[in-house]
Amino acid sequence: MTRVHERVSDPSLLDDEALMAQVIAGNSHALEQLYDRYARVVYGLSLRMLANADLAEEIVQESFWRVWRRSATFRADQGHFAPWLFGIAHNLCIDELRRRRSRPPAATVHPDYPVIMNVADAEQDVDALTWQAEQRRLIRNALQNLPDDQREAIELAYFGGLSQREIARQLNNPIGTVKTRIRLGLQKIRQFLHDQGVGQEDQ
């Protein structure tokens, strides 16, 4: 798939990697476009992980600031923009969690920032025709299809920012059990997405 459309004048028509090429060239409008596309996801992720609106705002701003400052380190040939951005935001959240030294019990339901499965499906209708909404629908369905213990392990690992050892301690399970649950959970999600026709190129 050709992803660079340098001659498209409307930046909203450019794909992420083409916008990043413009960011690399110093075009802050391209960054604004990327912000408008992904800030909601990053903010949602940060809220989920940190359960703190002020910190989540900081994470959003810092993530895109790093995209701007470190755009030259982005390699389109090694992956798409969204995973790169999410990786930056996720790492920042984990750093923040470790700084706090008092991680929130990620497996429990925060009253303001619900866990995945408590999201009302009606929300999907709003963005039903968008790419992100489709991604959201797929990954939620994939997570819903997991056994509870595997989903819990993955949530604690990714959204809770906990190490395997910490997860084992929190769940009072052997660490080997936790490791296996994470692997099996990811494998099942991968298989589910594959069955839904989602390939690597789509991600």
Partner: protein, 306 residues
């Protein structure tokens, strides 16, 4: 790689994707990935899955101020790296040129038209260069930190390896002890089975004088070469000495084994005679130098008749 190792590696590669490994585990997995292309492919598949996880969270519109602050920050960074003076300034006309400046106007305009984009381009590149320099500085700082972390991890790894070696050594020792105990158990079981079997005859071994407070019993089956002899009350041996057990008849005296005495004075000996045990008429236990030969030359401790 066996099944357990393989499963462990696959678990660790999977855990690498959501970033749930601790520092020393990361080191192991990184080394593993460098060696196993198959695991690299598997990791990429897991990372593709993990890249979708943020979508699972309900998206939330951040406050408008977040966007405004970000853009202001970017604008400030751009302006802070702009040159303080314009890139291109019109030169002041020299007095001697005042009379004919109109003749140079087209050339001047042309030069301006050429220089302005060039100046803009240079300024843009200067800004980019400053940003990249800043990024480079930040990355170098992170690199220093990463190296420090790596050093700590390596130190922890060395300590873990030493600990692992100690545990392995201890495990080997324990295994040896278990093997010894198993062997002992097997021997004890054989002895017990032998002496309680139907048809077993018992012969007593008594001390040759009253200063010896020991005795023994020999369990044998007539017509068979195997026999078991149990002792009690034997004194601990001096260095270089052994208790040696003999079978004898009128022609021969045959050493059939040495006896190891336990701390409580008990001992047992399983023998296989060169002929059926009932061919022999006497048995005896002597105290001999360990280097003793085929003839009994030491002190007789116990004796008995068959």
């Amino acid at each position: 790689m066996n099944h357990v190792d393989d499963q462990h590696s696959r678990n660790q590669v999977a855990a690498y994707a959501p970033g749930t490994l601790e520092a020393e585990e990361m080191l192991f997995v990184t080394e593993h990935l460098a060696q196993v292309a198959e695991s690299q492919v598997e990791l990429q598949a897991f990372q593709d899955v993990v890249a979708l996880l943020p979508y699972a969270v309900p998206p939330v519109e951040p406050p408008l101020r977040t966007r405004q602050q970000l853009l202001a920050r970017i604008a400030a960074s751009q302006s802070s790296t702009e040159p303080s003076t314009p890139t291109a300034q019109p030169a002041s006309p020299a007095p001697r040129q005042q009379g004919g400046w109109r003749s140079f106007l087209p050339a001047f305009v042309m030069a301006l038209l050429l220089l302005l984009p060039l100046g803009v381009l240079i300024r843009s590149q200067q800004v980019r260069l400053a940003e990249l320099t800043q990024v480079n500085t930040e990355l170098q700082s992170e690199l220093v930190q990463a190296r420090a972390d790596l050093t700590q991890v390596q130190q922890a790894l060395v300590a873990m390896n030493a600990e692992q070696r100690a545990i392995e050594t201890q495990l080997q020792e324990t295994l040896q002890e278990v093997n010894t105990l198993m062997q002992l158990f097997s021997e004890e079981r054989f002895v017990l089975t032998f002496i309680t079997a139907p048809g077993v005859a018992t012969r007593e071994l008594t001390a040759v004088d009253t200063t010896i407070n020991a005795d023994g019993a020999m369990y044998m089956r007539p017509g068979q070469r195997e026999a078991v002899v149990l002792f009690r009350g034997l004194q601990p041996l001096a260095p270089g000495m052994v208790y040696r057990f003999w079978l004898a008849n009128e022609q021969d005296e045959i050493a059939v084994g040495t006896v190891t005495v336990e701390s409580d004075g008990l001992a047992r000996l399983t023998i296989t005679a060169p002929d059926a045990v009932n061919v022999f008429s006497q048995v005896m236990l002597t105290l001999e130098p360990a280097t003793g030969g085929n003839d009994p030359g030491g002190r007789v401790i116990l004796e008995g008749s068959l």
